[in-house]
């Protein structure tokens, strides 16, 4: 079984701030990490490989420094990494990213399963997975919380819904996105770290991708554009209710009742 895991390098904290004058993000001194949800995707791929054999390849798109997240994946036990990097890709939105990665997958060709984390914690869009499934015409199972059974040609998995879960069966190849509940990711092993140090991932630019349509990518090719960014302004007028528990509870109850939200 050849498994492709799509990973992304993101800033290490979501507690990011905007420069109030320029409206751009302050990146100075902010460390970059592997998107936390991608660790579950990598772990699941490694578990499937343990069961069925085969190869796990991670693919990331980003600047040259995104190599670091490939090294982390190699440290966890992944076989190979591919870095997709090109100036022409800068400023790509979810469609442009999905298109590019789909062309990468077409070039790889021989795969049975694509795994992504449920979303990247920077943009929080969760769109690239389903958009890729469309580009590659693959069946998709989103929000997978458990793989019940997998063979070389089929998968049965639980999809987390808002009110419980659905069990789906699909032929392979397919694309799945996984949620945190699916596993506990392993740490990088010492052996893995040694390997990662030496590992030089394949680096592909747009010229390496057959039939690549440059009009689809980058800032120009992206259908969407960020018009403005701003820091949310929230006004909280917090009131602490004092007194012993019975009095405090009674006083809170009266305030809640007055808001007419609760019918009791």
């Amino acid at each position: 079984m050849n498994i492709i895991v799509l990973i992304k390098q993101v800033v290490a904290t979501t507690n990011v701030k905007l420069n109030p004058e320029t409206g751009t993000m302050i990146r100075d001194g902010v460390e970059s990490i592997l998107n936390p949800f991608d660790e579950y995707a990598i772990e699941e791929a490694l578990r499937i490989k343990d069961k069925l054999g085969g190869k796990v390849t991670v693919v990331t798109m980003g600047p040259a420094q995104a190599k670091e997240v490939i090294r982390k994946a190699i440290g966890m036990g992944v076989d190979e990494g591919i870095l997709v990097t090109d100036r022409a890709l800068a400023g790509s939105d979810t469609w442009a990213t999905a298109y590019t990665l789909s062309q990468v997958l077409k070039k790889i060709g021989d795969y049975q399963l694509i795994i992504t984390g449920k979303q990247a914690v920077d943009g929080d869009t969760a769109q690239v997975g389903p958009e890729m499934a469309a580009c590659l015409d693959l069946p998709m199972i989103a929000w997978v919380r458990k793989i019940e059974e997998i063979t070389e040609s089929t998968i049965r998995a639980q999809r987390l819904m808002d009110d419980g879960y659905d069990v789906l069966e699909s032929p392979l190849p397919a694309l799945i996105s996984v949620v945190k509940e699916i596993n506990v990711p392993r740490l990088e092993s010492l052996k893995g770290k040694m390997r990662a140090k030496k590992h030089e991932p394949a680096t592909w630019g747009v010229a390496d991708l057959p039939d690549f349509d440059l009009i689809q990518v980058g800032l120009k090719g992206s259908p969407t554009r960020v018009m403005k960014t701003f820091t949310p302004q929230r006004q909280y007028n917090s009131e602490i209710i004092g007194g012993e528990p019975p009095q405090a509870a009674a006083s809170l109850y009266q305030k809640i009742k007055a808001m007419n939200i609760v019918n009791k």
């Binding site: 769109q127 998709m140 397919a174 528990p245 509870a249 109850y253």
Partner: protein, 333 residues
């Protein structure tokens, strides 16, 4: 082809097990305003099986027109037939805007439709408006766990697509006097691609009320003390008519299933009232609930971050304060 050839505001009317989801009503409320601003029609698209009556409900909640597509393949949610039907319908009728709910269903298949149509899409919007001069959709959404807001525009490609966060938009009052056209079509299963198939549906939520839909959520955190004491959270939720939420720590400890988890790695919620009991207020938790209308916090630590976002707070021990609150709600004061 000019963008002017694409007219009308569409909403995808979500259903689960043959019942309309509350997000469908909210989308009609939001879509009505956009359609009026543009001077265009509001159209709802319903994909289901044997749920014709729901189409009339969509009119009562504000739709000028409803496309109701019936197929056995729409009985249970599957990405491929849903995306195929919505894609084909959009190609045929060329809407200017398509909105869906930012739910497990909407966020799974609507981006697939956007990619089929080679157009742009904005995820999880919390505000929508029409640009007064350009007459295009502006979708505003949180990123970086809610620490940054971004306004996204899709100027040249059509349709302009977005998913909209649950519980943020307001539904219109139901009015059965509203007039609307219902266009019904049935699609044979053989015309639809269905590879990833649902073979079983399991309801896992402890109470009947799911947290994404709930108006009131009572969430317990590590400060509740133990798995046994978490019953206090459930009891307050029952007394008040709310759904049970949980912080990440509580889910990791195995006190409550993951489907109840609120926060960045769980669900983002926006109820009318949110109780945070023994929740310290880590930034990842706040990201999932800080847009709730009213926040009530109970925590023994007066410096807990949760008090900074709370409307009302009580500093005290959960096992002393919560039983008193339960008593108040059970007895009606």
């Amino acid at each position: 082809m000019s963008t002017n050839d694409w007219q009308d505001v569409w909403i995808y009317a979500e259903q689960r097990d043959g019942s309309l989801s509350s997000v469908s009503h909210e989308l009609l409320g939001a879509g009505r305003k956009l359609a009026d601003d543009l001077g265009q029609k509001l159209v709802a698209v319903l994909l289901g099986h044997q749920m014709r009556a729901a189409a009339d409900e969509l009119v009562a909640f504000g739709a000028d027109k409803v496309f109701y597509l019936d197929s056995p393949a729409f009985g249970k949610f599957a990405d491929e037939p849903y995306a195929q039907a919505l894609t084909d319908l959009a190609r045929e009728h060329k809407p200017s805007i398509i909105l869906g709910g930012a739910t497990a269903i909407g966020r799974s298949f609507i981006p697939r439709v956007a990619a089929n149509l080679r157009t742009g899409m904005t995820a999880d919007c919390t505000a929508l408006e029409i640009h007064s001069e350009k007459k295009v959709l502006l979708g505003t959404r949180p990123a970086y766990g809610g620490n940054i807001m971004a306004t996204i525009i899709c100027e040249e490609k059509r349709p302009q697509m977005a998913t909209v966060r649950h519980k943020v938009m307001k539904a219109l009052e139901r009015d059965t006097g509203r007039q609307g056209e219902v266009v019904e079509r049935s699609l044979p299963e053989s015309e639809l691609t269905l590879r990833a198939k649902v073979v079983d549906v399991v309801k896992e939520i402890e109470e009947t009320c799911n947290i994404a839909e709930a108006d009131i959520i009572v969430t317990g955190g590590r400060g509740v003390g133990s798995k046994e004491k978490f019953q206090l959270v459930r009891d307050l939720a029952a007394a008040i008519g709310g759904a049970v939420g949980a912080s990440r720590a509580v889910v990791d400890a195995g006190w409550v299933p993951y489907s109840h988890q609120v926060g960045q790695t769980g669900k983002t919620v926006c109820p009318k009232m949110y109780f945070a009991l023994g929740v310290s207020g880590a930034i990842q938790h706040l990201a999932g609930m800080q847009s709730s209308d009213v926040i009530i916090a109970v925590n023994s630590n007066p410096d807990a971050e949760i008090f900074k976002v709370a409307t009302y707070g009580i500093v005290g021990d959960i096992s002393e304060v919560v039983p008193e609150l339960i008593k108040q709600f059970r007895n009606g004061g």
